[in-house]
């Protein structure tokens, strides 16, 4: 079975977010980039399923410029077999989805996995767009994924519960905890990753449908009002009479 895992390159979760002086772009200076944490569930689960099946391949795909390659190599070190980088700035979700759909179609992948959203754009859009572009089902967000032959059984999170869904390949799923325990690279993985194939291809299509006009930081808090622990009940009065939230 052929797995395609989509990974995005995002600022480390501890990053303090700042922007370029015109507020039009994220300021990358000094920022450490990582594989989007949600995508790690997709990657690890694909590797686990391939191992369980005893055959098949896991290909990772990233839409990004050359600076994403260290994290693509990391995905190879974790256990992917090969990688494709679509050499383009990921301008918006639709543009990225078009690239992934084109590669998925050409390579006839059976299972396309990605994280539930990226922690930078927080769009949660690419999975549905890829499914629709390919005319195949998307299950999002999935908390569990098991395969038996061509049939997958997934748990899809809904507000307040979950649905058990069965689909046959090909399909798309977006992944989240507690699907698996994301793996980290070991020494052997890091060594072999260096020689695994990483193909760079040019983008197709082009029509982004959104443009970022400006970034802003959320408004700052006024400062904390402390209530002595002996007087804890006073807090409740303040929440009712001053903050008016209870």
């Amino acid at each position: 079975m052929k797995f395609l895992v989509c990974i995005s390159n995002v600022p480390d979760t501890t990053t303090k977010i700042t922007f370029t002086p015109d507020n039009k772009e994220f300021n990358k200076a000094g920022v450490q980039f990582v594989i989007n944490p949600w995508d790690e569930y997709a990657l690890t689960r694909a590797i686990e399923l391939k191992e369980a099946q005893g055959s098949g391949t896991v290909t990772v795909i990233n839409v990004g410029e050359a600076d994403t390659e260290p994290n693509i190599r990391k995905a190879l070190a974790i256990g992917a077999d090969d990688a494709i980088r679509v050499n383009a700035k990921p301008t918006d979700a639709f543009f990225v989805a078009e690239q992934i759909a084109a590669i998925a179609k050409e390579g006839a992948y059976d299972v396309i996995l990605m994280g539930r959203e990226s922690i930078d754009y927080n769009g949660s859009q690419v999975h549905g767009m890829v499914g629709e572009l390919l005319g195949i089902p998307t299950v999002a967000p999935a908390m569990k994924l098991d395969m038996s032959g061509n049939t997958a059984t997934l748990e899809r999170e809904i507000e307040g519960g979950k649905e058990i869904v069965e689909v046959t390949t090909p399909f798309v799923a977006s992944c989240q905890q507690p699907m698996c325990e994301p793996r980290i690279p070991n020494m052997r993985g890091i060594m072999t990753a260096r020689t695994k194939p990483l193909k760079v291809v040019q983008p197709v299509g082009s029509d982004a449908r959104t443009e970022v006009a400006e970034y802003a930081l959320p408004p700052k808090k006024q400062g904390v009002k402390l209530i002595p622990a002996e007087n804890a009940g006073e807090l409740i009065k303040l929440l009712r009479n001053e903050a008016k939230v209870i």
């Binding site: 999975h127 809904i158 009002k225 929440l239």
Partner: protein
């Protein structure tokens, strides 16, 4: 060319987040000089749908196909697309829920529309540009995004738009059939399992949340969190390490890699306030922090704080809420 809003219903009730979506949609309609129509999904009741007039909706479409009671991505997408065609809708508004994100993304491809999710404010329409403000960087930033296609789909973040009341008269409810067939239900669930809810308040929909961290010491102490939550009609939540060690279920984990919440009140008990945790909660309107360490970073993001021991403070708070009546 009305604005189309997607309202999610559960057990006959319109979800709170969908009342917000309806209010958002009717205000967009006003801005564009048109009316707002709703399409209902889930288990709806006609009487409750008619009441969407209060949020400014003039007409509600409802497909009585019984298999639409559970979320089915294929069928929901086709239903909403058909309603958008019938209404010639240029703007479609949904909740930024698991359903909204799944359907909105498919719909944007099918209808060749621009899509913005996680939207927190009404749009600005100026000089032919349609701009929305959305949350980005997991709550650490906001971004203004121009939607450049003729058609636009907007998924509104929960609890970021005030629901209107008394915005208009009862809406007319019309039967509508999207002529769904078996193939549209290919991804229909085999089974739907709902969670046990402490006090019955769902975390993603809650406007008050009481949350516990490692400072709670163990799952056996969670009654302290639950008692306060029950008294306040709040939902319960937790930090990541707490769900990682199974003190609490995963769906309660908030933060950058869990769910993002923006309730009116978030009470953090024994949580240090790591940047990844803050990212998921910092758009809450009022944040209260209870921590025995005065240097805990969470105090910097808080509106009210108590430096103290949760085992001492929580029962006092619960008692004080009960006394308020």
């Amino acid at each position: 060319m009305s604005v189309l809003v997607v309202v999610e219903c559960d057990n006959g009730e319109v979800k709170k987040s969908s009342l917000e979506v309806a209010s958002y949609g009717s205000q967009v309609a006003q801005l564009l000089g048109t009316t707002a129509t709703a399409i209902a999904v889930g288990v709806a009741s006609e009487a409750n749908l008619g009441q969407l007039g209060e949020q400014g909706i003039s007409k509600v479409l409802y497909d009585a196909e019984p298999r639409l009671k559970d979320f089915v991505n294929g069928a929901y997408t086709k239903l909403i697309a058909a309603a958008a065609e019938k209404e010639q809708s240029q703007v479609i508004v949904l909740a930024n829920s698991n359903i909204g994100a799944a359907v909105g993304s498919r719909l944007s491809v099918r209808l060749k529309a621009s899509l913005a999710t996680n939207v927190v404010e009404l749009p600005k329409v100026e000089g032919g540009k349609f701009t929305v403000r959305r949350g980005a960087y997991s709550g650490k930033a906001l971004s203004d995004v121009v939607l450049t296609s003729d058609r636009k789909i907007i998924a509104v973040k929960k609890n970021s738009i005030e629901a209107l009341h008394n915005a208009g008269q009862a809406a007319t409810v019309e039967q509508f059939s999207a002529q769904l067939t078996d193939t549209d239900f290919a991804d229909a669930p085999k089974q739907v399992i709902m969670q046990e809810q402490a006090g019955g308040v769902l975390l993603p929909e809650a406007d008050k949340v009481v949350s516990g961290g490692r400072g709670m010491k163990g799952p056996e102490n969670w009654y302290l969190i639950e008692d306060l939550a029950k008294a306040l009609h709040a939902a319960t939540a937790c930090s990541k390490p707490v769900s990682d060690v199974d003190w609490r279920p995963h769906h309660e984990h908030v933060g950058q890699t869990g769910i993002t919440v923006s309730p009116n009140l978030y009470i953090a008990c024994g949580i240090s306030g790591a940047i990844q945790h803050l990212a998921g909660v910092n758009s809450s309107k009022v944040i209260v922090v209870i921590n025995k360490d005065p240097e805990a970073p969470f105090f910097k993001a808080a509106d009210y704080g108590i430096v103290g021991d949760v085992f001492d403070v929580l029962p006092k708070l619960t008692q004080a809420v009960k006394e308020l009546g």
